[in-house]
Structures are given as structure tokens and as C-alpha cells.
């Protein structure tokens, strides 16, 4: 059995993997670094770390982190409801979760803007409490939450499905309170999936352009995301400046994803060791 697996052996699969990764992932990144390397150190600092660019990083990274955190909590609840309860239209709601994947991002952006604009359905209501969402940093976070939610739900859902309710029942019968059950039984089991979902939602929010751009307001220093600054530089034929900002975003997000992944590894080792 093991001698003839369904998928061809190690060498062909590794070959295909490396080829596909190089063509689709590595090549554009190399092109990006080559572009940015056209700048000397001072020009690079000026292009990638001017006050306006720093403000945009703050909004992009901060907004994506907040949105991913909210998505982790909300996504967990959605996954829980879909796995643990049977109710009318459950399958329909299950399918709805994927909609942000399928919807063209510009459509999502325009729809969100129409809803949250001061003359929109939600916007008009929120305005009564003095809250404006569209054309503020808050709008950026709303768009990032919208596009990030399915990542958390879809990573946590299968793990919850495998988690037998008997474990919780056993804990409860041994006298654990609901918080202890969640904290000691459920959370450890789903944490790796939840962290992966968080990381995916974060990365997606960070790179998102289409849906955010319509609702953001795009004011420099206030509601301007880093991807917009990259596009702005390109509109000015400043390819190297755009590549400089892109390089910083790429390196920082790669570092963050690496930290998240290694934290997970470390935890697994600790768990299996202790």
C-alpha cells in the first residue's frame, strides 16, 4: 500500500511544488525586491518611512489586527452555532459565510459604503449616536471585518466538528463550570485553528484594497491605507517608491506570520512534552 500511493512520489510532487511556488509566489517577490533595490539607503528610508507612510502603516497594520481580533471572536461564535446546533436555514447560513470570498471586493466596498454613508441605512442610524463609520478609520476596520470573517469560520469549523461533545460532558460531570470547560477543554483543542484563522484574516485585511478604498475616505494621515499609498506612488510613475513601501509591508507581515506560526509550534512542543 505505502509503496504505491495515489499521488506520485516525493520527487515529482516536490518538483511541481517548487515550480509552482517559484512561478507564482517567488518570482513576483524577487521582482519587487529588485525594484526596491534601485534606491540607495537614504532614498529607501525617505520613501518607506515618511510621516504620511508611517500613518498609513499604523492604520493598515492596526486596523487589520483589530479586525482579525474581532473576527476571531465572532468567527468562533459563528462556527460554534453552525456545528453544535441544528436550526432552520442552517445550510443557507453556512453558505452565506463564504460570500465575502466570492464577492468582487469592489462590490463589497460599494455596498458597505452605501450602507454606512451618512445617508445610508446604518449610517443614518449610527449618526444619531454621533458615530460615523464611512470615510473614517472605523470604516476601514468594518471592511476588513467583512472580508476576513470566513477565514476564521472555515478554519475553526472542521476542528469543532471533530471535537466530541462527550469531552465537555465529562468535564461538566466532574464539576467544571462552563468557563472552565471552555478554557480548559474547548479552547486548547481549537486554538491552533483559531490562530491560523486569525493570521489569515489579518493577512487578508492588510493587503485588501478593493473593498476598503471605497469606504475609507482616503484622507492622508487619517484614513489612508498603505496599499493606497502604493497605488498613489504608481500613479506618479514612482515604481521604486511603491516597491519600497511594498517591501516594508511584505517583510513586516512575513515576520508577523512567522511569529504566529512559531508560537503555535512552540506551544505544541510544550504540550506534547508536558
Amino acid at each position: 500500500m505505502t509503496k504505491s500511493p495515489v499521488i506520485p512520489g516525493f520527487l515529482p510532487t516536490l518538483g511541481v511544488t517548487l515550480f509552482a511556488l517559484s512561478l507564482i509566489v517567488l518570482l513576483p517577490i524577487v521582482a519587487l525586491f529588485l525594484r526596491a533595490s534601485g534606491l540607495d539607503w537614504h532614498q529607501f528610508l525617505a520613501a518607506a518611512f515618511s510621516p504620511r507612510v508611517l500613518a498609513a502603516y499604523r492604520l493598515s497594520f492596526g486596523g487589520a489586527l483589530i479586525a482579525a481580533a474581532i473576527n476571531s471572536a465572532a468567527g468562533l461564535v459563528v462556527a460554534w452555532v453552525l456545528v453544535r446546533y441544528d436550526f432552520p436555514f442552517r445550510r443557507l447560513i453556512d453558505a452565506l459565510v463564504d460570500l465575502p470570498f466570492a464577492l468582487p471586493t469592489a462590490v463589497a466596498g460599494i455596498a458597505l459604503t452605501a450602507l454606512y454613508a451618512p445617508n445610508g441605512l446604518f449610517g443614518e442610524f449610527l449618526l444619531r449616536f454621533g458615530v460615523t463609520v464611512a470615510f473614517t478609520p472605523l470604516g476601514v476596520i468594518v471592511a476588513m471585518i467583512f472580508i476576513g470573517l470566513p477565514f476564521v469560520v472555515r478554519t475553526v469549523q472542521p476542528v469543532l466538528q471533530d471535537l466530541a461533545p462527550e469531552h465537555e460532558e465529562a468535564a461538566l460531570s466532574l464539576g467544571a463550570n462552563p468557563w472552565q470547560v471552555f478554557h480548559r477543554i474547548i479552547l486548547p483543542a481549537i486554538l491552533p485553528a483559531l490562530v491560523t484563522g486569525f493570521a489569515l484574516a489579518f493577512a487578508r485585511g492588510l493587503g485588501e484594497y478593493g473593498s476598503v478604498i471605497f469606504i475609507a475616505g482616503n484622507m492622508p494621515f487619517v484614513s489612508e491605507i498603505a496599499p493606497l499609498l502604493i497605488v498613489t506612488k504608481l500613479e506618479q510613475y514612482d515604481y521604486t517608491g511603491a516597491a519600497a513601501i511594498a517591501t516594508v509591508m511584505l517583510l513586516v507581515s512575513f515576520a508577523l506570520l512567522l511569529i504566529i506560526n512559531s508560537a503555535q509550534k512552540w506551544r505544541q512542543i510544550r504540550l506534547s512534552g508536558g
Binding site: I29, P51, A203, G241, L250
Partner: protein, 335 residues
């Protein structure tokens, strides 16, 4: 995350789309900017009919629209445009300088700085003009909300900004500190900086944002006569700018496609009375005096400065729009 290295991707895209049709002399690609969509749809039909009558050759014209700067960048990156019809000369200059696809003196090849139709910058206000907006200084008043796109990304917004600057320059007697103060007060009143002219129109018309939209005259007419009949009024400021959207044949591309004859005729016929009439119907100011005369009521004469008066696009780019130049300083002060 999205990797912002567009060139390999673009080349692939072009290979897949345009590359298929390249080489056929009876195909023309017109790469244009955003609000010309409707005009060129009509003009392409007119031109194909005239060309067929004149030469017997059936001609197929494709058109591509988007932000002017973005379109120019696509051509630089290899989009096989036979002709470009963009929002400002600076973008065609960039194609000449960065990719060498046409000579630097391209703008002198056709009449009127290669601009067959022109426009200007006007104000669009809500019905009855509740905030009593009459001129540029009203836009800098506290409590007035102004919608204008980002001049860094939008060709139309550059015309808006330069018209405001020209007014301030005349009004404050060339005093740089006062001009900057005026622009700062004006941009303090801007709640949303859309990336393109069409986006700004949407913010003002559909989202109900702002008291005044600074816009292309043709875009303002579109809002008044089609998007929201009876909801808006056009206000002409005391001074504006002659907005010249130029056209050019991309020499290197037409030589490769053997389509020079067709491409040159396509642009020359833009100056014909029939095409001029069509442009006027689409709210562009015609350059043909006889046609302009017929549309005098729609396009009243008004004082306008020109980009040549101001010193040309290269200078304007350097003084106003480059990173760290006046517009960036104004936005820094707004904060």
C-alpha cells in the same frame, strides 16, 4: 497579501488579451480616461462609418477606460494602444519619457495642443445653492464641505487643484504664505479624498456628501442632466482653468501594427464638424468655432487660465504634485 509588482502580471495579461488581436491592421485600441466612455462609444461608430465610406475597409475599435495616470502606466508597461486620449498632457509626456513610444514634441502634431475638445472646472452645488457658494473663496469658508478627488491619483483633480491655486495666486497677489493658507483652509473642508473624478461624483451625488463638488464641466453636466435631474445646479467661478485633454498616436505601436494611417485619421476626424457636434452633445467644449457658436448657451464664455500660462505640466508637477511639494505641504498643514 497582494504583491505589488505589476509588470510581470501585466505582461501576462496583455499577452492573453491584446496579444491575440495584435498584428491585424483593422483593429485599433484607444486607451482613454474615465469620463470619456460614452463619448468614444458614439465616436467609434461615427468613425467606423466614415472610414468604411472612404476606404471600404471595415474597422474595429476597442476602447479602454480608467484613471488617466493608471492608463498611461499600462501603456508604459506594454499595453498596445494605437492611440491614447488622456486627461492631461503630463500623462502622455510620461509615455514619451519613460517608454519612448512617441517623440517628446507629440503635442504640436495636432491643432490646439492636440486637444480636439476641451473642458473647464466648475462647481456643482445642491438645488437652490443653500450654502451660497459663488466663488473659490466660499470653498475655504468654515462649515462648507468640499468634494474633490486626490490630485495625486486623479487627472481631473489636478485641474481642480490648479484652478483653485490660480484663483488664489491672482487673489492674493502671488503671496506664497497666503496662497498656502487658502489651500489649507480649502482642503480642511474636504471630508473624503476619492481616487478618481467619477468616485468624487458618486460621493457627492449618490452618498449625499458635501455642499459643493469641484468637477469637470462635462461631469457636472452629466450630474445635472442625467444622474440627478433637478437636484443640482452648476456655478461658474470667477476664474477657472482651460482643461485640455490631449490625444496622440503611439508611434512605436502603430508602426508595429501597420495601423498608422487608421490611427492618424481616427484622431484627425475628431476635429471634424460631426465629431465636434458629438463632443458638444457629450458636454465637452468643442474647439471648432462654428460648432462652439451653436452651443454658446450651454458653454458660456468665462475667464480661464491655461496650463501654458502657469508654466507647463513639468513645472506644475515639480512645484505642486511631486512628493513633498506644495500639495503634500498643504495636506501636512491640514492635519
Amino acid at each position: 497579501m497582494v504583491v505589488w509588482s505589476l509588470r510581470p502580471f501585466l505582461i501576462l495579461l496583455i499577452f492573453l488579451t491584446v496579444g491575440v488581436g495584435a498584428g491585424s491592421a483593422t483593429d485599433l485600441l484607444n486607451v482613454s480616461y474615465d469620463p470619456t466612455r460614452e463619448f468614444y462609444q458614439d465616436y467609434n461608430l461615427l468613425f467606423a462609418r466614415l472610414w468604411k465610406a472612404q476606404t471600404g475597409e471595415a474597422l474595429h475599435i476597442d476602447q479602454s477606460h480608467g484613471g488617466s495616470g493608471k492608463q498611461a502606466r499600462s501603456v508604459i508597461d506594454g499595453l498596445e494602444a494605437d492611440v491614447v486620449t488622456l486627461a492631461l498632457a503630463y500623462d502622455i509626456d510620461a509615455i514619451a519619457q519613460q517608454a519612448g513610444l512617441l517623440p517628446a514634441d507629440w503635442q504640436s502634431r495636432l491643432p490646439n495642443n492636440s486637444s480636439p475638445y476641451v473642458s473647464t472646472i466648475v462647481f456643482l452645488v445642491r438645488k437652490g445653492n443653500p450654502k451660497q457658494i459663488k466663488d473659490w473663496d466660499d470653498l475655504a469658508r468654515p462649515g462648507v464641505r468640499v468634494i474633490t478627488p486626490n490630485p495625486k491619483t486623479s487627472g481631473g483633480a489636478r485641474w481642480n487643484y490648479l484652478a483653485a491655486w490660480a484663483y488664489a495666486d491672482a487673489h492674493f497677489n502671488h503671496d506664497p504664505a497666503k496662497i498656502k493658507g487658502f489651500l489649507t483652509a480649502l482642503f480642511k473642508n474636504v471630508p473624503v479624498l476619492d481616487s478618481g473624478a467619477r468616485g468624487a461624483t458618486t460621493s457627492f451625488v449618490q452618498r449625499g456628501l458635501g455642499d459643493v463638488l469641484v468637477a469637470w464641466e462635462n461631469e457636472a453636466f452629466l450630474a445635472v442632466e442625467q444622474l440627478g435631474k433637478g437636484q443640482f445646479e452648476i456655478v461658474l467661478p470667477s476664474l477657472s482653468i482651460l482643461a485640455e485633454p490631449p490625444v496622440a498616436v503611439i508611434d512605436k505601436v502603430v508602426d508595429r501594427h501597420h495601423s498608422r494611417k487608421e490611427a492618424e485619421a481616427y484622431l484627425q476626424i475628431l476635429y471634424s464638424p460631426e465629431a465636434q457636434e458629438l463632443a458638444a452633445q457629450h458636454y465637452y467644449r468643442p474647439s471648432d468655432p462654428a460648432v462652439a457658436d451653436r452651443y454658446r448657451d450651454r458653454f458660456p464664455a468665462m475667464p480661464m487660465t491655461t496650463i501654458a500660462d502657469l508654466g507647463g505640466w513639468q513645472k506644475m508637477q515639480h512645484v505642486h504634485f511631486a512628493d513633498g511639494a506644495l500639495f503634500d505641504q498643504v495636506m501636512g498643514a491640514v492635519r
